[in-house]
């Protein structure tokens, strides 16, 4: 059960690489096998300064946090079997490219209760994340809303 007291809680920062093998796996998992997503020569031939990344590339953080996605949910006290991803929002400030090293700072921005469509109560948790690159530039801002359904 998620508690209001976690508002403002900072999740320990994590640095992680945007590396070629994971980029190839990720784009292929989306059904897009174009080497421009992982091969520097293909990216250059297509006119890019560096290997571009899909909009949802920051998911790669999950490989570096203890326990991955489930580790994040446990760190905020959520019951894994009752949590859904409700919303996600990204703001892109600087392109994320293959070879970057991102550092994520995450904190719990809000916790609220709401009645679900079928009458049950739901707890909504908003998590804000700022991803800074190896040059210290704020590259991506992301907000996620997790929903914990009542039993």
């Amino acid at each position: 059960m998620i508690d209001q007291s976690i508002v403002g809680k900072e999740i320990p920062p994590i640095s992680f690489p945007i590396d070629r093998s994971k980029l190839a796996e990720l784009s292929k998992s989306f059904g897009d096998g174009d080497p421009v997503w992982w091969d520097p020569a293909a990216a250059r031939a297509a006119g890019f300064e560096g290997v571009p990344t899909p909009p949802t590339v920051t998911v790669l953080i999950n490989h570096w946090r203890d326990g991955g996605v489930t580790g994040l949910m446990e760190s905020i006290g959520a019951d894994l079997a009752r949590v859904l991803h409700g919303e996600a929002t990204w703001e892109f400030l600087i392109p994320v490219r293959c070879g970057d090293e991102l550092t994520a700072r995450q904190f719990v921005a809000d916790v609220s209760q709401r009645q679900g469509k079928r009458g049950g109560a739901m707890t909504l948790v908003k998590i804000d994340t700022e991803y800074t690159n190896q040059r210290g530039e704020l590259a991506v801002r992301r907000t996620d809303t997790l929903i914990e359904r009542e039993v």
Binding site: E25, S29, F30, A46, G47, G68
Partner: protein, 145 residues
């Protein structure tokens, strides 16, 4: 312009006008697709790969990670407008995706605004199942030519 006709991932802003559309389809999705995305993304939530766990949680079986079809929408958006031209991307999950589902990815330019020399397209996007139910409703903005 239809993204499925675009051979090359755009490196520079593309020309878009109000009413232009994106249309693509993916699937049918399999459990293997879910497992491949689990390995690629590091999302090992058991509801998405462990049938026994999913049934014990009261579900008919495993279902796809929201970030899988969000990512599929993301690459189609990127192929339409260019990955480095996207400024904002905002998605709301409105349903779940199950093995066997075939998804329709759609997008439309709602309006294009010009501020100084920068043209920004406001896009409405969706991912729908074969039943017609939306599983994602999304918006995005992108710099266009």
């Amino acid at each position: 312009m239809n993204a499925t006709d675009t051979a090359v991932l755009p490196a520079t802003p593309v020309t878009l006008a109000e009413g232009d559309e994106l249309s693509a389809s993916v699937g049918p999705l399999t459990r293997t697709d879910f497992v491949r995305y689990a390995g690629a993304s590091g999302d090992f939530h058991p509801l998405h790969h462990d049938e026994v766990y999913a049934r014990a949680a009261g579900l008919p079986g495993v279902f796809g990670m929201g970030m899988l079809h969000a990512g599929m929408l993301g690459v189609h958006l990127a192929r339409w407008v260019g990955p480095e031209n996207i400024r904002d991307f905002s998605i709301r999950f409105t349903g779940q995706v199950w093995p066997g589902d075939e998804l329709a990815i759609t997008g439309r330019v709602e309006r294009v605004e010009t501020v100084g020399r920068v043209r920004t397209a406001h896009l409405a996007l969706a991912v729908a199942r074969q039943t017609g139910d939306d599983v994602i409703r999304a918006t995005a903005t992108a710099v266009v030519a």
